[in-house]
Symmetry: C2
Subunit: 437 residues, 2 copies
Amino acid sequence: MSLSVSQLVLRARQLDIEALRQLARRVDLADVIGRLVHALQRERGAASLFLASGGQRFATERQTAVDKAQPIETALRELFAEQLAPEHGATSRTLSLMAWVMLDLDALRALRAAIEQRGPTAHDAVAAYSRVIAGLVELVFHLADAAADPGISRLLVAYVHLVQGKEAAGQERAVGAQLFASGTCDDTEQQRIVHLIDAQERCLRVFEEFADDAQRARWQQHHLTPVVAQLERLRRTLCTARPGAALDSALSESWFEVSSARITEMGQLQNDLVHGLRQACADQIQRAEQALQDSEGLLRQLRDNPPPHTHAVERFFNSAAQPEAAPVLSAVADGTKAAPGGAAVSSLVELLQTQSARLASMEAELDTARRALHERKIIERAKGALMSRLGLTEEAAFRALQKSAMDHNRRLLDVAEATLALPDIAFAARHGSTHQK
Amino acid sequence: MSLSVSQLVLRARQLDIEALRQLARRVDLADVIGRLVHALQRERGAASLFLASGGQRFATERQTAVDKAQPIETALRELFAEQLAPEHGATSRTLSLMAWVMLDLDALRALRAAIEQRGPTAHDAVAAYSRVIAGLVELVFHLADAAADPGISRLLVAYVHLVQGKEAAGQERAVGAQLFASGTCDDTEQQRIVHLIDAQERCLRVFEEFADDAQRARWQQHHLTPVVAQLERLRRTLCTARPGAALDSALSESWFEVSSARITEMGQLQNDLVHGLRQACADQIQRAEQALQDSEGLLRQLRDNPPPHTHAVERFFNSAAQPEAAPVLSAVADGTKAAPGGAAVSSLVELLQTQSARLASMEAELDTARRALHERKIIERAKGALMSRLGLTEEAAFRALQKSAMDHNRRLLDVAEATLALPDIAFAARHGSTHQK
């Protein structure tokens, strides 16, 4: 038995623990991002109402929201700074996304000052906040990718889809409130509401699929509450009114209230999920530390009883005498019944088998979680390509993908992949010809 | 502008360089593994002929082969030891696979001693060496996964498929030589030859797809040589003879000669590929170091001219006055035409955009390489599941997958995925019912 084999086995177990610790820190980061998104959603709502009222109302609420967001922002910046240290295992991609978020956060100060002076319109302020939140959501999606543990990965997938679904709900609340308050239905805004409801439901379906049973049950229970029933009635009013038709502007407040109640419920689910994620990380780290201790103990025993190599030769002969072809490794593993040295090698093989089996089964399970994130990434990227190449809005880009999927009876993912595979020139040609018409 | 944004950007660039250096070391590792596989293939051939001749022939050739393999084995062990250091970025999975290989290598000593005493049959010795080589091939496939650069990834995918194709060719050479030498055709061995030719061609198709143009051309040129023509004639003789029919045992030597010529050509391609990989790594590292220097220079300039935040507010107003909704970031990026501070922020944004665009385009290209490795991994795993659960041979397992794919008109990959998705119980039931019949 070579000492190096046990060194490799021990180091592999140590790396398992390191990977889990890095994952736990990623969960902390995802938590703070989720809380900052929540705070900015409130700030966006208050700023929008403050600007829409010509600065007459919601000045205090807006200031309170800003005061609540700032310490979370500071905490996030501190966590970003920590990620510069090599032991945190951040990749180049992660740091680049963080840099984008940081630029957005740096610009927030100017945005707040401008809003205080009632510079931007309510609509522009909502757009600016939504852009910052989109960057944060992008980062949290990236952090959820490639987690080292399948159970934790599943919860992370649930978490990021909940955060994204909640953001769609937040935007729906803002757009709906403005639409009701305006007193008149508008086609473009109606389309946005429909799109935001769609986007929400897609995210929340993934959340339900990956959340644990208790969370899923709680969320499904929430669907049966009077709050959701009233939200659905108001959604129907908004979505079915003909463009130009009058809307009861008094409903704006009820709309805001029921939308907020639903978002609050999502916020609680979000906190619960983080709690579950922290618990899962702690459990896995404890288990991995126990496994490392056990391995160390076993390997100490093995080192005290090194196997004489002559026995290995003997074992090979025994095994080679079998009718079937005798692979070297099974010859070595068969040593249990042979000399004491054989038992040592066999224990080492067992140790390695446990590690390998664990890694292999994890890999298969991780595939499911990865696929969910991959699907979202590809669809978002295809949407982005259509937006930038054809100058479409987000809704129009998504509808184009959806229509193509339906027309050709293919999955949305396949259409998105095909879209990304098209060279730029194809878009240029199509775009050009559209202009010529 | 926050200093932290530039810290994140610089650190991201540093991590790019670190990832490329780790990749260069993985290439070194893959090279030594490829050379050890080559040496063990020779040793396997010599040992097989030594044992088949009752120790009368090939004793010197075998000893020469062992002497050639040993320093490569030592070099590999040294590289393994290096991978224990944290800066090499080895994962738990990599180290576990290395530990398996190390166990196999430790057992080689006993195998060689046994062969010297003419213990095992030629067939068993071939099986034992093949097992060791399979572990090495598995490791090299794993090392090729998730490379940080698409160009290098493509070459690695070509490399590992060439190594695996070459191993199938090596096994074909051994099985064919024994079959010719035996003087009688045998159904089971014939099936193995057919399977090994199939496996080779699948690997070499992937090699051709991912190799660079010069390599592909060279390989296609090789197909037109008289050596390959003669190999194909001998393959036809072997594959079309009826079981039990006589084979001209004198052809054994010609078979060995032409098979070896083809394997030598593959070995040269393998060396060329490693050369290309080393060159590509060096180029990428140089490019990344240049990019880091450029960024450092640019950021030093930016730090010397910090932008006053008042200008940011102004820029936001300008931008918010546009008819379209003004996202915060574009407001910041628009600053080029404004005050000097604006130019600084804009340069930073450009820097970040370069980095992000590079990462995004790499990700898309990497997908292609990853998919090729993923496909192979899933099919190998499904084959392994069928072998262990239904007690099938490798060939039978592969044929079962192939047949199912043809019967249901589905891709081999889909069938393999479906196979892996089946719970153990399904196999238990099917296995049981087969036995009852």
